[in-house]
Symmetry: C2
Subunit: 241 residues, 2 copies
Amino acid sequence: MLKYQQIAMDIEKYIEEHQLQQGDKLPVLQTLMTQFNVSKSTITKSLDLLEKKGIVFQVRGSGIFVRRNKRKGYISLLSNQGFKESLEDFNVTSTLLALEVRKPTPEAAQNLNMPSDGDVYYVKRIRYIDGKTLCIEESFYNKSIITYLNKEIVSDSIFDYIRDGLGLKRGFSDLYLYAGMLNEEEAEYLGLFTGAPKLCVETIFHLTNGQPFDFSKVTYHYEQSQFFIQANSHLFEQETT
Amino acid sequence: MLKYQQIAMDIEKYIEEHQLQQGDKLPVLQTLMTQFNVSKSTITKSLDLLEKKGIVFQVRGSGIFVRRNKRKGYISLLSNQGFKESLEDFNVTSTLLALEVRKPTPEAAQNLNMPSDGDVYYVKRIRYIDGKTLCIEESFYNKSIITYLNKEIVSDSIFDYIRDGLGLKRGFSDLYLYAGMLNEEEAEYLGLFTGAPKLCVETIFHLTNGQPFDFSKVTYHYEQSQFFIQANSHLFEQETT
DNA sequence: GAGTGGTCTAGACCACAAA
DNA sequence: TTGTGGTCTAGACCACTCA
């Protein structure tokens, strides 16, 4: 583990354990430098990482402060795409409806940037939160990359398997989000009426080299799902040339 | 303007002008260093910024590549909260329904972290995209920070005014997102039926010092609105200690 | 003006990808 | 093995906040 990652984790753990609240001040850079015995750049890098994760914010000339959003029960759209870790306080379970090798839909083929006569693993699941239906999830894995899947892997953590079993590394992902009305089949699964609102999230997961390996489409029960996103300032600074 | 920001802009412009596509390779670090005549760290910082903005991705041992999402007509939930710049290709207009000083709702007071007997500027707008209704927007500005607003400012760009007119700087924001059903009033505004799906986004905007100054609640027409988010890998690396 | 975070440099060394 | 990006350092200097 790299120094700056380790330090970031230590600081994050410190914030957790001491129950620091939004606005609480952390030690100054100089202190952190000597405390962790590293150079200024390394500390800065740790703090930048924590800032990116929405855990602190830095104010020039003033200090480093804890950032913490108050609302509970919201699903983070950024930090974890693999559930499990998100919604820690809730009991999330799932049922496997399908696991098979097939040809991709045209949509899946396009999003996975693969030929439509190639093979994909198709996985369909329902997820429950505290016993209530949370969402329907359909995933397409490019079989030329994800060469093997079985029930055990799917019911455990696919992403862990991809990293540890296949030795592949996840890179960036693109998320697309929209609302609509449930069709008959979806309504049935979610225990709602046809025409009720739905919230859909499509995600394309890439490897670190930019190759897409997983296209997933998740349909949420609108009453069980709320999302949050933490946006950082750096993205829209220098907007006027 | 800082060196690394300028360089980031130059590279971004280069990608735009040469219509580079996802996966296209940029010059190597060494080349960029000499080309811009700066140190390695500075170039790295520029590229990190571009990576955060979802414009490039870097692959150790291999190179720097263009990242570009293909779908058109999606609203970015991260880069711009001020419309105007997002959805460039579309004609976005708006109508002002209300602009007044009042007491905040309990919800607004809490989100703005202000006393409920303080004053806020309340702004209600409808936005149109290519003539079709896009959303209803209600905003609450803490009047002790945003001391003055008028019709000109509101119909122009509030955020520009906050920066240039008041000399304040935007920091991070928290976004909350959920789906639901339109009530009668909302349905009327959006030209849909009561009970039709809606997509709501609540945003709390903060100054760089962490103080919230704007709480906004936007209700979208589900047929006109689609969103996208670009997620980066760094956020979920080191997940297992 | 003192304190604090941010930028930038030059250079050593490390880790990974691809041939 | 070579090329390429990533980490880390020590230190100079800059820019902002706050009393």
